[in-house]
């Protein structure tokens, strides 16, 4: 009933003793996520909340606990290094929440990532959740409900908006992924759509995009070619002025490309049901998916 994470995921938290790391690790534990280890260099040997062992390095943590996923709450100046450490330790899934990582650091990480078996989600993202099983990230757990709709988005709160609209109407989610708002990221819309398409328990999808780049157009082309499951979409940024960075580092319309109009057109062309406003994302899906 999910992609990438489930009740068997063994999570490691990088930066577990930091302010954001400890708060969100606690929230994930409460949701039922199986956190097996934490890493903070120099704090090895301690225990988080009296139960989760803390290690100095990711390699030791993996060796000692068999962790197979990692979530990163490390400040931006050091987060690129943390991702590289997780890749080097052979972790299968790395979720980087950190916002504000220099693009140069991510360009280096990306090369390393392509040569590895690690999947990266983010950076600058809310994380990933399989409702009722595993929450890795900063999303409020209670708005989700186990079910059969996959949700993928670059934006955090806009994802919550879509999820909440679904849950309120009685439709649960298989997995929700926030891929992050940065120009260089580990997982694209297309990657997520492909995984949802291959997941027998995901019956429909909501894709949320925004201005900047061409990732949404590529996802639309993939959907047109390969996806039979119903898909609804919303693209944010119709009113964004060109050349300005709208909060997310990646959300910028430059030289006439990356516009909301071009993305919406690609979605329509691929037979995707486009929501007319962010308030109508679930409604748009329910026009083409009856559950």
């Amino acid at each position: 009933m999910s992609i990438l994470v489930n009740k068997d995921t063994r999570l490691l938290v990088q930066g577990i003793t930091g302010k954001a790391g400890s708060f969100h690790a606690q929230q994930c534990l409460e949701y039922g996520t199986n956190i097996v280890a934490g890493v903070t260099p120099g704090r090895g040997g301690e225990r988080f909340e009296d139960k989760v062992p803390v290690f100095d390095t990711v390699a030791t943590a993996v060796r000692e606990t068999g962790a197979n996923a990692s979530v990163i709450f490390v400040p931006p100046a050091f987060a690129g290094d943390s991702i590289l450490e997780a890749i080097d330790a052979g972790i299968e899934l790395v979720v980087c929440i950190t916002e504000g990582i220099p693009v140069r650091d991510m360009a280096e990480v990306k090369v390393k990532l392509e040569q590895s078996r690690t999947r990266l989600i983010g950076p600058n993202c809310p994380g990933i959740i399989t409702p009722g099983q595993c929450k890795i990230g900063i999303m409020p757990g209670y708005i989700h409900k186990p079910g059969k709709v996959g949700v993928v988005s670059r934006s955090g709160t806009l994802t919550y908006e879509a999820v909440w609209q679904l849950t309120e109407r009685g439709y649960g989610q298989s997995t929700c992924i926030g891929i992050g708002g940065d120009p260089i990221s580990g997982t694209t819309h297309t990657d997520a759509i492909r995984l949802f398409n291959e997941d027998p328990d995901t019956e429909a999808m909501i894709l949320i995009g925004e201005i900047g780049g061409t990732a949404e157009e590529e996802a639309a082309a993939y959907i047109k070619e390969h996806v039979k499951k119903p898909v609804a979409a919303f693209i944010a940024g119709t009113t964004a002025p060109p050349g300005r960075r709208m909060g997310h580092a990646g959300a910028i319309v430059s030289g006439g490309s990356g516009t909301a109009e071009a993305k919406i057109e690609a979605m329509n062309d691929a037979g995707i049901e486009v929501a007319e406003t962010p308030s109508h994302m679930a409604e748009a899906l329910l026009r083409v998916y009856k559950g």
Binding site: P102, I138, P183, T239
Partner: protein
């Protein structure tokens, strides 16, 4: 972050990229000494603002051209005098234009042919890409569309850096031979080191020129930097020119708020960049016009919300405010308290519609209803947008 041409050329020179001799001046008294530093011959007088199209721009007093060729020193001083303190309008500045506060005097170069050269971080490959074109001084997007064969590209592996063969490919792609190839390889090496070492998001030379003597030279320079990396470049931060930024945006950035001024009349305050953009869109969808983009972030507190109100209300065009918060980790009753405190502190005098959703939403709404302030509560984002558009159009 963007910098001025004269600053970009300083950086070029530091990285061994050849540029024409030049000197900047911020007051008239400095014109003479600046010009003395330049070699004999004609002078180009250039207005320094963060916008393109300066040459074809017009000043608000009717004076035409933000870039002028002066045959004599006296003429250069006269042009500088007309430009300094004057407001230049170009196709990129908007009708309000930008005040010119620095003049850059350059040695005029003899041009044989103009080319285009840029290094950008390419999203599609997640790598730096060098783009070169035999058509200089024109819009590169137009060349890419109409005559792509004139463009040569090189994708750089960031873990290896720019390799000599890639630089040669670019030079040969531009049609260079002999000594010019060597010069271009050296120039590209400098530009790439600048791009990489200083965390640039864009390095653009338009035009790159060849002179009748056969030299290759950067005639113009544009450099933009990754804001996320400024913490490791104090020398670049020193180039920041606050005159080029909206004062409201500067104040917002001090309060760690993400604010962009727009020209509508409905202000919005939202948590999360994607939702903030979507909120602007839905205001437009229901016939209104957003006055700003404002993301208060995931963990905004009462103090930040107050700051946000202060910034929003400084915009005289604002006729109403829409607050849209999806409280996840942050609880709605806490946010409601923050909004009430802030609204009282700033003596809110314009209609306010608040849409809260998420944890403790009922408690939050109750707090807003019980207050003696005139706050309109909304259930969904669509409901909120319709209500604020209606309130603003009634005014």
């Amino acid at each position: 972050m963007n910098i001025h041409e004269y600053q970009a050329k300083e950086l070029f020179a530091r990285f061994g990229v050849p540029v024409p001799a030049g000197c900047d001046a911020t007051k008239e008294a400095d014109f003479g000494p600046a010009l003395e530093k330049l070699p004999e011959g004609a002078i180009v007088v250039k207005s320094q603002i963060h916008a393109g199209g300066r040459g074809k721009g017009t000043f608000t007093d009717g004076f035409k051209g933000g870039v002028k060729l002066a045959k004599t020193r006296e003429e250069a001083v006269e042009y500088g005098r007309r430009m300094l303190g004057n407001t230049l309008v170009t196709h990129q500045t908007g009708p309000e234009g930008r005040k010119v506060q620095t003049i850059y005097f350059c040695e005029a170069s003899d041009i044989e042919k103009e080319y285009y050269l840029a290094i950008v971080m390419d999203r599609a490959t997640s790598r730096p890409v060098i783009i070169a074109s035999t058509e200089g001084g024109v819009d590169i997007e137009k060349v890419a569309e109409e005559s792509p064969e004139k463009i040569t590209r090189a994708v750089i592996d960031p873990t290896l850096g720019l390799r000599p063969y890639q630089a040669r490919n670019i030079a040969f792609g531009l049609g260079f031979r002999g000594e010019q190839v060597k010069q271009t390889v050296k120039l590209l090496d400098g530009l790439y080191r600048l791009f990489w070492e200083k965390d640039a998001s864009l390095v653009e030379v338009n035009p790159l020129i060849t002179t009748p003597a056969g030299d290759v030279l950067a005639l113009d320079a544009k450099v933009g930097f990754d804001d996320n990396a400024l913490f490791r470049h104090p020398d670049i931060v020193a180039y920041r020119d606050l005159n080029e930024e909206d004062p409201k945006e500067i104040e917002a950035s001090k309060a760690s708020l993400n604010y962009i001024a727009l020209d509508g009349n409905i202000a919005c305050m939202v948590n999360g960049a994607g939702l903030a953009m979507a909120t602007m869109d839905i205001i437009k969808h229901y016939g209104g016009s957003p006055a700003n983009f404002l993301d208060v972030g995931g963990g905004a507190n009462a103090e930040q919300v107050t700051q946000a109100f202060n910034i929003i209300l400084k915009d005289e065009n604002v006729k109403g405010i829409l607050v849209n918060i999806f409280g996840g980790i942050m609880k709605c009753d806490v946010i409601a308290t923050g909004i009430l405190e802030a609204a009282k502190a700033v003596h809110l005098d314009r209609p306010l519609v608040v849409r809260l959703e998420g944890t403790n939403v009922e408690e939050g709404k109750k707090l807003l209803e019980q207050s003696d302030l005139k706050i309109v509560s909304a259930d969904t984002l669509a409901d909120a947008a319709r209500k604020i558009v209606e309130l603003v159009s009634d005014k």
